[in-house]
Symmetry: C2
Subunit: 372 residues, 2 copies
């Protein structure tokens, strides 16, 4: 069966995203962006330079720090659209949560408390908003995600962009602003070091990263999105499990007196995100969480080995907290009290920059993570 493309390994590059074309622009943009930092001084503020390259941008405004971000959902809405045609129900309540999670879960990595979310809902035409059930699901899901994270929904944009966004589609994004208060909560990696414990927080499934590959894969499945992957669970429904919101955990940690030394949101690049910080450190994982059924299924169908799978998907761990060794067990308890499974899964050590997932015999080195 080697010659049958339907049974060949499917990698992320084959799924249609060519980073070689995007990277030169990103590098130019990052350079230009960095050159604007000096403007803040004219307003009595200053950039936290270490936040360049982190998941959110941080500005010192005096009494506390300001953090801000804009994040795109990506292509998960296409799965919701396909499943709507197949099942008749709207899945946009979950899609709303996914979109907010993309922004919130990044913003909190720097120690910020999210305060305000702005909605960016750009439809292919005004008729998108004319489907009342879908529109109501989007609004309800957005509000419930704001409630879960304790953020105010400030407002947003709902443009109809015929000719730019495809007809019947919607481009969803969220902007989020928060504060790091008190200033000691700032987490851009200064405190990260040997001896820290690695606590992993459970994911709910694929979250909103790796969907291009997951959508590509559906072409191979005889029943498409309705293919059962577990009793009573279709592939499409499993993909659409909303992304876990982690800010209730980071806020509860602060209330419990625990300030993480560093955090990583495990999104694109999968577990390689554990190597996110620039410092040369070794991350040794001694326990891996159970893999959610949908990710187990994708790995199997895409003929990925563990190394490829863990470098693409979250594989059951959606967020990593690096905490003082003595705080590890309590961190796990605090997360579980918020309804999110957590594991004291590893340890930071002095040594070359690498991630060792010992139970699986996987090693990723510094070269394996070129962040984009």
């Amino acid at each position: 069966m080697k010659s049958n493309p339907a049974s060949a390994t499917l990698s992320y590059d084959q799924a249609g995203v060519n980073y070689d074309q995007i990277d030169p622009l990103k590098i130019a943009a990052q350079r230009a962006a960095a050159s604007t930092a000096g403007h803040l001084a004219t307003h009595g503020c200053a950039e936290v330079a270490a936040s360049r390259g982190e998941s959110a941008y941080v500005v010192d405004v005096g009494p506390f720090y300001l953090a801000s971000i804009v994040e795109c959902l990506g292509s998960k809405a296409l799965v919701a659209d396909a499943m709507h045609e197949l099942t008749g129900r709207s899945w946009y309540d979950g899609i709303a949560q996914d979109t907010i999670a993309m922004a919130i879960n990044d913003l909190i990595t720097v120690g910020a408390t999210p305060l305000v979310v702005q909605a960016y809902w750009a439809a292919g035409g005004s008729e998108w908003f004319g489907d009342a059930a879908r529109a109501a699901a989007l609004v309800d899901g957005w509000k419930r995600a704001c409630d879960a994270c304790g953020v105010a929904w400030g407002g947003g944009e709902t443009p109809a962009l015929a000719g730019i966004v495809e007809g019947g589609r919607i481009d969803l994004a969220a902007a989020c602003t928060g504060i790091v208060n008190p200033r000691e909560r700032l987490s851009v990696g200064d405190a990260l070091g040997p001896g820290d414990a690695i606590v992993l927080l459970a994911s709910s499934g694929i979250h909103a990263n790796g969907l291009s590959l997951a959508r590509k894969l559906v072409e191979r499945l005889p029943q498409g999105y309705l293919t059962p992957i577990a009793p009573g669970l279709s592939y499409g429904e499993a993909l659409l499990a909303p992304t876990t919101l982690y800010s209730p955990v980071t806020e509860a940690l602060y209330r419990a007196g625990i300030v993480p030394h560093y955090s990583a949101n495990i999104t694109g690049h999968g577990w390689r995100k554990l190597l996110r910080h620039a410092r040369a450190l070794t991350y040794r994982i001694h326990a891996v969480p159970d893999v959610p059924p949908v990710l187990r299924y994708i790995r199997q169908q895409a003929r990925q080995d563990d190394r490829e799978a863990y470098s693409t998907f979250n594989m059951g761990a959606g967020f990593a907290l690096f905490v003082a060794e003595g705080d590890a067990e309590r961190t796990v308890e605090v997360a579980r009290a918020q309804g999110i499974a957590a594991w004291h899964a590893g340890r930071v050590e002095a040594g070359e920059k690498q991630l060792l997932i010992e139970p699986l015999g996987i090693r990723y080195g510094a070269d394996d993570l070129q962040l984009r």
Copy 2:
């Protein structure tokens, strides 16, 4: 020629945006958003309720106020794409400024100093970013607009969204966060009242509002975007004049000791935006600025009367400042010192909610502005 559709009046509704389909969603979203305000108290913050319905959302964070916003460019990039095909040059440096202006010019209406801009550049595929000249123009224009406004470019998103954004197109938006500092700069209309002077700031052309109609119109022009509208100036080039950035004026006003009682960014709905504040007041305009050639041309070609034109386009005035009568002349001088023409154009009076443009004999009442 009455039966020739090419000579018929072209209104905004005919240009393809059907607000009746969007409005129910917007109302539901606004209601849901308002219900999330209470969360701020758990973080020691509070919503400035009067900012709901204003151009930016404001939160009281204690020492000062925080303002945030996300804004979409709209369809102006389609004009740049068409002009690129016709002229071979990229117009995305100006498009970048337009996008930032959409966010900044709204954010400053509440009295905020813009601090951080985040870029949202969602392309129809990775190949969009592969056009190096266009990508460089976008980056350069974005940086120059940040420099002009004294904001830090914090970062952003550059997703490739094949299947959502059309191939070869890009969906551009900007998120902006700022602070209102000192708190006395907050401007949500409390100070607006009879006797205030109305100062209008010049626009550079169509800015980024009314482009659906302007693009529709091009179908009637024998030479399309290359139709000359003035010696050496094509319709397309005139449309692509970058939107004026007004934050240098509002910052200079503060340095000059002038705090506007209210501000209005004149975007969609044209001069009806002068009626933006909820209060019942009469706005009497005694002088109108010269109309930029491109807007004069559109009005003529679309067979619009003044009433329709001023209710759709900025007609030469892109921003309105409502200041104490005694500050009016100095406000004009401060704007001119920033290179932006300005006029002491009218006055706020007690009376029913209406805008009277006396030189043109136009009256808009409260019913003429249903803000969306």
